[in-house]
Symmetry: C2
């Protein structure tokens, strides 16, 4: 009974996210036709078998020729090159969106790449799994997750409505943010935790080399703190490199915050130190929903990349 | 069939750790008699009901009068005042140990407080639970956990052997470290994670006040990273205040490490950034044993305080 949100969508990069978008689009009647683009024939074949796409092609340009809505679901540093490659093949009125973990640089470059009458709207679905690839895709991956959509002043309103309607059709809760606001928030809430996790492991390894007995003292707090360091290094390198301004600014703020805490401890200001921990606990209790952790991976809804 | 390690032990502070030591001492025949000292009559009564102690008293001095081995299991900042209070009541040859999370300041002050012929040996069992109090105590709390014992050059060898033998009798694996080595390692592996967790929550709350949409983007990585912030603030304040030198030195090193990482990101050195994440993953995979996390609390053996 659903009206299609669009007639034809093309998904470039048919992995976990792209495949799940295709499955959900079919299952929920969001599009009449789903075209998949991948560099690998086997991926396209498997995506067809799993009903994630209707047809597949390895050719970017022909793949997008009939698309009303293009989802670019490649690794984050490939998003802009892909958009530049397809820009000349999009039909009048076509909308391009992406699922990259950073938004400001991508939005600037994508807007610049598209010709008149083709529209870009950035997006970032906060959903994921520990596993990758179309075999892990699920039609309900986005159910009850947050989906950030990041318009800019020049964003076409109808294109924005289409992307928002599609994301809501996937089952997600859409929040609108500017690309800069997104990147700054994601730098705090997602990118910085990954940097801190890797950094504390580096510090611990240094200390281990000095004293030889550090890791024997490791308990639950260290294990929790470093769990995200099990994520694929290349993905996190690319995310860092695609949002250097926001991330370095947040790291700098964190360094300054640590320096202040260090001074409180050094000067014996136990009230300030207690406030740090008691406020931290209160923020954690009130702001963060309960949910499965990364490693325990109980739920599909708990991981943003 | 076990020979007692000692005749009489006195446990000052009969909570989770003290109660578990008492239960294990009885269950494993490590001591003929277990005396408990607490400020609260109800705690002593409950500890007797749970067979964690044989007899109890609210009086510190009479409680330690017959002790061969005294376990000080109070909050970390009370350990030295307790040792100063009992110093004059210890019998010739009595050994005092503690279970505090920091060791250097405690060891210096404890050694200074004890008269000739009474011996101090610091310790830190790396075991715990989310719950507190003697009702949570377990005779097997220390089984297969690490127990740091921290002698100094002036430590009496026979006293050291007694404490090590007792800790091994509890089922723990003993590692010997200097108090300074312990505090430096614990600052990296335990105290710094708690500071970082609270600090990132403070930064996120700041960002939330700016943009209003930060916590909606929080996913598994942020949840894992901030789980330890649910720990009791007063305990962590006291741990920080009892080891200010080691902790501030580690925080300073971490600030410098972050500054280096920030410069790598800012200068676009993607190889260095990738190395950070790939080395971090390798250290995490090779050095940290699998185990239940803090919040999931499956195992009793995974939390050091």
């Amino acid at each position: 009974m659903n009206a299609f949100v669009v007639d034809t969508i093309t998904i470039i990069g048919v992995g976990l996210i792209g495949g799940s978008i295709g499955m959900a689009a079919k299952a929920k009647g969001l599009a009449r036709r789903v075209v998949g683009v991948s560099r690998r024939t086997e991926t396209l074949q498997r995506a067809r078998e799993l009903a994630a796409i209707d047809t597949g092609t390895k050719d970017l340009r022909s793949g997008v020729a009939e698309a009303d809505l293009v989802f670019v679901c490649t690794p984050v540093l490939s998003i802009v090159p892909v958009i530049q490659a397809i820009a000349g093949s999009l039909k009048e009125g076509a909308i391009v969106t992406d699922v990259g973990s950073t938004k400001a640089q991508i939005t600037r470059d994508a807007e610049a790449a598209l010709p008149e009458g083709r529209y870009f709207v950035g997006g970032h679905p906060m959903a994921g799994l520990e596993t990758a690839g179309v075999d892990s895709a699920l039609p309900y991956l986005f159910l009850d997750t947050t989906y950030a959509v990041t318009p800019v002043p020049s964003t076409d309103l109808k294109a924005l409505q289409t992307v928002v309607g599609f994301a809501e059709g996937l089952g997600a809760q859409v929040i609108l943010m500017s690309p800069e606001q997104h990147d700054s928030s994601a730098a705090v809430i997602s990118h910085l935790p990954h940097v801190l996790s890797a950094a504390i492991l580096r510090l611990a390894a240094e200390e281990q080399n000095r004293s030889g007995k550090v890791f024997e003292l490791a308990a639950g707090s260290f294990r929790d703190m470093t769990r995200v360091a099990l994520s694929p290094p290349e993905i996190w390198r690319d995310i860092c490199m695609s949002s250097t301004e926001a991330l370095t600014s947040v790291i700098k703020r964190f360094e300054e915050m640590l320096a202040g805490i260090r001074e409180d401890i050094a000067s014996g200001d136990s009230e300030a130190v207690c406030r740090l921990f008691s406020e931290g606990r209160e923020i954690r209790e009130t702001q963060i929903k309960a949910g499965a952790s990364f490693a325990n991976g109980g739920s599909v809804n708990n991981r943003a990349s």
